[in-house]
Assembly symmetry: C2
Homo-oligomer: 195 residues x 2
């Protein structure tokens, strides 16, 4: 079973996949049509080898500039700053936002040895100096690291004279006051708006 053990071992490289899940996946793959297994393997390799960072927004794309940066209908006066390419996908799914993006590829995190120079922050500043914008919306995650990164970027951008905003935090839709943690609740109170 060397081939099978090899596959089970390699599947465990993936996050959240332990020995049991890897085994289940490996045996499932044995029952799948060969052509489909080949398709899956090709999709993995192609996505990894053909995706590159867009030279403007640093999102992952098979084109440079990426689809969003090339799209003439997007509002180039607005840049939404996010941590990861996956965040672009999440925001795009809302169909609310028509501006452009800037992907940092991480957050400032001294514990993980990630400083500002490890992110695409300098590229953001240069991008804005070259093409000034009206607003930069910082949509890093509502975590300590996300907040620190947001403040750091805001400090650098403010002197350039534009509006720098942070996405709102508060109670998620469909949740219950009872279940909210105190920090979320106090942020929700802070961020209250007139009805």
């Amino acid at each position: 079973m060397a081939l099978l053990n090899n596959l089970i071992e390699k599947l465990q490289w993936l996050p959240g996949i332990g020995r049991k899940t890897a085994q289940r996946l490996a045996f499932f793959l044995q029952k799948m049509e060969k052509a489909r297994v080949q398709e899956l393997a090709d999709a993995i390799v192609r996505a990894r080898t053909m995706l590159h960072e867009c030279s403007i927004c640093h999102n992952l794309s098979e084109h440079d500039p990426c689809e969003i940066c090339r799209n003439g209908k997007r509002d180039t006066d607005r840049i939404c700053v996010v941590e990861q390419p996956s965040d672009v996908m999440v925001i795009e799914r809302t169909s609310e936002y028509r501006g452009t993006y800037h992907v940092l590829h991480g957050v400032i995190s001294p514990i993980d040895n990630v400083g500002p120079d490890d992110l695409r922050i300098r590229a953001l500043i240069e991008r804005i100096k070259e093409h000034p914008v009206e607003e930069v919306i910082i949509a890093t995650n509502p975590t300590t690291e996300g907040d620190v990164t947001a403040l750091y970027i805001a400090k650098l951008l403010k002197p350039l004279g534009m509006s720098v905003t942070r996405i709102a935090r508060g109670l998620p839709m469909g949740s219950d006051l009872d279940l909210a943690d105190t920090t979320t609740l106090s942020r929700a109170l802070e961020g209250r708006r007139e009805l």
Copy 2:
């Protein structure tokens, strides 16, 4: 993001992987070294294309006969009948069993339209007629389907004059009487042994 969406879609072919997990895996793959991604994809394809059923025991192997059937040190007087190739792996890990195996590739399950002829039962009977054995240990799962399949096979084998046994069922190690369901508990009582 066509390539990425394509990958995310195909990852969802796998069991237990929904959209969110597929997304997480897809982005994780982007951060992995290209060489390792290629290795993973190769392992998937090779396992699927190079593994075949052993003509003796019907386990999956890159060789025919498989490693276990070819191994001169195994006790060929004993055959352990299991549902899936993964069960062979599980039993081998105990290092308790030195006999050979027979993989059914399923269980009798009228709901799923699986009858005896869809399994490797006929192959088992022929194998035993050709090379008689002392004992057949039926290690199908302790489920209704597993029990039905075990009884069906036992009925066919008994006239051939060998011992047909079923793996014991009882309380799992480290568990608690309080937590056992009544069926498990009554089977544990039934199967009691002198100390």
